[in-house]
Structure formats: structure tokens, C-alpha cells
């Protein structure tokens, strides 16, 4: 579907004034919920996401337990008020798919062999949505898992790229997502650069795909630094010797 909506102006700026390779503003805060074992609050442009991690604890019902490793249960949920028209509450086809792909991405980095028969629950609650909530949710989940003290090989990070008006750009906004030609969310393990999640909506040529892929990795790496800063920021006070 080709739309005639103008997403890039004559000066090469996007609707919100960003260049092609600029991210939206990101704010990350670790350890915000005192009931959860680990938690994170993330603002990414207009997205607002809370993530709470519980566990590792006994997996219930017992038949879902894996005798060799822990299972990671991510639950992605959008609040009814997170979008303009009220979203009907409860899991739907879209949120179940996102929960599944995020669970699998997280399972890859968590050292699940250390907790046989246990479950690690990751609740991702989207309070305000403005395109790219699965990336925001996964990025916040990475920080929350680290905050919960769960052993893992890396802190996962996600970022989307896409194509609007014929240009490959980083981190699509709401209009760009709705009226652009393609959307490509990617999650990586920043230390090894392994891909944990890759989905694509729309069409890209091979050259465009490669360009978008490299751009997404660049975006992920800069967000990864923000994640680490947020974790260290939260816990630097424990070291302060008077």
C-alpha cells in the first residue's frame, strides 16, 4: 500500500523534526516497584512502559515445568487507555504473539539451566503507546531482569527501523508506522550481536533490508548504553561510603 502522506519534508527532516538516524528521547529507570523482584519504567518517545519481574519461582501448573531449565513467561499487555480508541482489555491475537516472541528472545539470554522446574514471570504493561511498544517492552524487560538479579549472558535490547517515503529510517513514530512502507523491529544481544527477535511488516528490497538491519543494530547499541547507565544509576548509592 503506497500512501501519499508526506512523512519527510524538503529539508530531509521527519514529522517530529528528527533526522533519518535519530532515536526518540529515551528515559529508563530501574527498580521502581517495591513488590516485584525486579522492575523498570521506560519512556521512549510517547511510549510509557512498566515491567515487573517475578521469580525464579515454582512454575504453576506443574505440567508446564521443564525438569532441565526454567521457563520465561513474558506477558505483554496494553492498557485500555493506551491508544486513542479504547483498546478492549485482555489478551488478543496481537498481544499473545508479542508475548511469545518476547519470551523466546528473553529465554535466549537468561541462564535458565540454573533453575530447573522454575518460572520467571515478566509482566510488560504498556500504559501509553506510540509505535514501537514491543521494542520498548523488550528493552525495559532486559533492565528489569538485570534488576531482579537474574543470571544472564547479556542485557537484551531492541530497536525498530523502517522505510518511509522511500528512505530507510531509524525508530518509527506513530504516523511513520501507520503510513510508511515497512517496519522492522529487531532485538539483539549487544555483547555478541546475536539476533534475538526479527519481525518485518511491509516490503524492503535486499539492499534496503541490509541497510535497515545495520541501522537497527547501531540504534540498539546506543540504547544498550542507556540501559547499563540506568542500572548503575539505581545501585550507585549502595557503594557510597560516607
Amino acid at each position: 500500500m503506497k500512501s501519499d502522506m508526506v512523512l519527510i519534508d524538503d529539508k530531509g527532516k521527519r514529522l517530529d523534526g528528527r533526522g533519518f538516524e535519530d532515536l526518540r528521547d529515551i528515559k529508563i529507570e530501574a527498580g521502581v516497584l517495591h513488590r516485584a523482584d525486579g522492575s523498570c519504567y521506560l519512556e521512549w518517545g510517547g511510549n510509557k512502559v512498566f515491567v515487573a519481574v517475578y521469580g525464579p519461582r515454582e512454575a504453576i501448573p506443574r505440567h508446564i515445568q521443564n525438569p532441565l531449565r526454567a521457563i520465561v513467561n513474558a506477558r505483554y499487555n496494553m492498557a485500555a487507555f493506551s491508544v486513542e480508541d479504547r483498546k478492549r482489555p485482555g489478551p488478543d491475537r496481537r498481544s499473545r504473539e508479542i508475548s511469545k516472541v518476547i519470551s523466546e528472545a528473553l529465554e535466549k539470554v537468561v541462564l535458565t539451566e540454573q533453575f530447573p522446574r522454575a518460572a520467571i514471570d515478566v509482566n510488560i504493561e504498556v500504559l501509553d503507546a506510540e509505535a514501537g511498544t514491543r521494542c520498548a517492552g523488550l528493552t525495559a524487560a532486559g533492565v528489569a531482569l538485570a534488576d531482579a538479579g537474574i543470571p544472564m549472558t547479556d542485557i537484551p535490547v531492541a530497536c525498530a527501523t523502517g522505510k518511509i517515503n522511500g528512505h530507510v529510517v531509524l525508530d518509527l513514530g506513530k504516523e511513520e508506522d501507520n503510513f510508511g512502507e515497512a517496519d522492522l523491529p529487531i532485538a539483539i544481544s549487544p555483547r555478541t550481536k546475536e539476533v534475538l527477535l526479527l519481525q518485518m511488516d511491509g516490503h524492503l528490497t535486499l539492499d534496503e533490508f541490509n541497510k535497515a538491519f545495520d541501522l537497527a543494530i547501531k540504534g540498539c547499541l546506543s540504547i544498550s548504553e542507556l540501559q547499563k547507565k540506568a542500572i548503575l544509576e539505581k545501585y550507585k548509592t549502595v557503594l557510597e561510603v560516607e
Binding site: P116, R117, I150, Y235
Partner: protein, 226 residues
């Protein structure tokens, strides 16, 4: 070690390579490099690098004394929550009472608290606990609080110095389980005092000279009471 600068490691942070140091607890090795696997404080010994966790569940070790809460009575024992990734089994043979078959619920039931010792941890992390040891029994009164399991060594102190200090100034009976549960029994005022002190220890666990500051706090409070 006293003046060595401590630093925090996040998961995947690179700590060194396997040529100069050996990877200790809380670390993993990939391609001859040592990485932190969880959030914690780097503890660099002469030949080992460890990461002491800041947060996380209790990792059971055989011989630890813990406080558990009974989840369920089974036909041949009880399932007990000890704040570990999976519940622990307390078999009827491991209790000091002579339990007749089917009478399990008369002795321990859902919600009861017990002091127990970890008897066995097998390779698939299945846990067994026992009540057959000194001073282990069902808890009937007092107060149980939860703290981070990683803070327990600080609350106990070197050779029990911290806990002895708290007991001396508050006249409370205190039992610290390795799993981060603490049982306190005494008057309401003294329990309150213990709670405040433990809160302080939890918040300042990694700083130096904590025992002295805690003693100061306890002394000051003792004056207020008089």
C-alpha cells in the same frame, strides 16, 4: 582490602580474562574472557573474580539454617516455601514427632512457620529439609520479616558480632535464616527497634564500619527509652 574501591557489575560486563584470573561465583566464561552473569559487586581476590549478588532469590546450600513456611501437607511430608526457586520437601521421617499415617495436618499445616536445616540439594536442584537438629522447631509466636538474602551475612556480622550486638541492646530473641527470613520475639518496642536497625543494615550493607554505626544507633535509642 579495606580501602580497595568497590564497583558494581551489570550482567555481561567484562571483568578480565582467564589467563590472569579464574572465574568464581556469579561469572561465566566465553572465549577466554570472564563476564559477570548477574548484578552485583565485584570481589577480586588474588586468583579469583567473584560477583557478589546485590539482589536475587536464595540459593540453597546444604547445612544452611532457614525459616520456611508450609505450603501444603502431602501424604508423606510437607512442601515448604523457603524463598528458593522451588519449594523444599520435609519428609515425615525428618521431624521430631511420631506422625501417624494421614495425621500430617495435625502437626504442620498450610501457613505454619518452621526453622529448618537444608538436608540435601541434588543436581536438579530438588530440595530436602529437616527438623532433626539442634534448636529446630515450629514457630509459634514472634514476628517474621523478609530481607534480601544477599544481606544476611551483614546482618549476622563477622562471627555473629552484629546479631550479638542487636540481641545485647534489645533483649529480643532473634533467629536469622540464611534465606533472608528473620524471626524476632520480644516486646513490641524492642521488635520495633530491631526492625529499624535491620533496615539500616540493609540500606548500608556494603559500606565500611557499619557495626560501629549500628552500635551508636542502638546506644542512642537505649537512652531515649530510659
Amino acid at each position: 582490602m579495606a580501602n580497595e574501591k568497590r564497583r558494581i557489575a551489570y550482567p555481561s560486563q567484562i571483568l578480565g580474562d582467564t589467563k590472569s584470573k579464574r572465574a568464581g561465583r556469579g561469572t561465566f566464561i566465553e572465549k577466554d574472557k570472564i563476564y559477570a552473569e548477574k548484578l552485583g559487586i565485584v570481589n577480586s581476590q588474588t586468583d579469583y573474580i567473584n560477583v557478589v549478588p546485590l539482589k536475587g532469590r536464595y540459593d540453597p546450600i546444604v547445612g544452611d539454617f532457614v525459616i520456611g513456611i508450609v505450603e501444603e501437607a502431602l501424604s508423606s511430608g510437607w512442601l515448604v516455601d523457603i524463598n528458593a526457586p522451588s519449594p523444599a520437601l520435609l519428609h515425615v521421617n525428618e521431624v521430631p514427632w511420631n506422625v501417624e499415617f494421614g495425621d500430617n495436618e495435625k502437626y504442620l499445616n498450610h501457613g505454619d512457620a518452621i526453622m529448618a536445616k537444608i538436608l540435601q540439594v541434588d543436581e536438579s536442584k530438588k530440595l530436602q529439609i529437616t527438623l532433626n537438629d539442634r534448636n529446630l522447631y515450629k514457630i509459634k509466636d514472634g514476628h517474621i520479616i523478609d530481607v534480601e538474602p544477599s544481606r544476611v551475612p551483614r546482618i549476622i556480622g563477622k562471627k555473629g558480632s552484629m546479631i550479638a550486638l542487636i540481641k545485647k541492646y534489645t533483649q529480643c530473641r532473634i533467629f536469622v535464616g540464611q534465606n533472608g527470613r528473620i524471626w524476632i520475639d520480644g516486646t513490641i518496642d524492642s521488635i520495633d527497634k530491631v526492625l529499624r536497625v535491620i533496615n539500616k543494615i540493609e540500606n548500608e550493607a556494603v559500606t565500611f564500619g557499619l557495626t560501629d554505626r549500628v552500635e551508636e544507633l542502638l546506644k542512642k535509642d537505649a537512652k531515649d527509652v530510659r
